[in-house]
Symmetry: C2
Subunit: 138 residues, 2 copies
């Protein structure tokens, strides 16, 4: 029930509990899935784009899986797929779109916060407290 | 075809192509899925464990989804679930196992390399090169 005391400052531990502190909403599924993250990272590191076979090798993906994931990324507007020729052989070149680059960097900023949270947690030494009193394995 | 010149040092760009450089094998699916990553991050930051309802709020998950994900994490040996009482009310306490903490930190180390790769890539200015010659939108 509400009480008149609720206007007093909330301790940090309570704020953590109240705010979806660890929800990481920015980890969009379309970018977060491992094979797609792998593809996007490769492309972010190669601004000129990568041909299909090089991308496949860098990400250790099969032809079929890479094709499927590229289709998902293209439909989401994250990559563009260019058909052309190199040394008279047909090749497929894949590039991040400008929007894809921006959304990838936004995603990476959220990953950075995950890493920072873990680093802060690892800095704390584990300890047992009264929170465990009365608990036993399920 | 193989040639006698293949023993010369391989340029960095070629090594990238040959090694699954961006495969990020350490991003285990059981830890990488967003809801589970959220749960593990919350628990890593609270060494004494968290009661079910606090965990639910911090991760912005429904009862059903949190229950399901906790079962997956428990079966993978990453968390332990303790049943007990607090203020005479039944409560469920969730904690990382020692193995869970270790695997979470290994996972975070891979995330750090994803972030580092993206930071290195963002430092490069995009440029067009001969790689794009002869390519047109698919």
């Amino acid at each position: 029930m509400a009480s008149k005391n609720e206007s007093k400052p909330t301790p940090k531990a309570e704020r953590d509990r109240a705010t979806g502190r660890y929800a990481y909403d920015g980890l969009e599924r379309v970018l977060h899935e491992r094979a797609r993250l792998s593809i996007l990272s490769s492309l972010a590191s190669h601004a000129d784009g990568l041909v299909f076979n090089d991308l496949k090798t860098m990400c250790t993906l099969t032809d079929g899986n890479l094709s499927r994931q590229l289709q998902v990324l293209q439909e989401a507007g994250l990559v563009e797929i260019l058909k052309g020729y190199k040394n008279n052989r047909p090749q497929t070149l894949v590039k991040l779109t400008p929007d894809g680059r921006e959304r990838f960097l936004e995603y990476i900023a959220v990953l950075e916060s995950v890493v920072a949270d873990a680093a802060a947690a690892a800095g704390k030494s584990p300890r047992r407290s009264r929170a465990l009193e009365g608990f036993s394995p399920a």
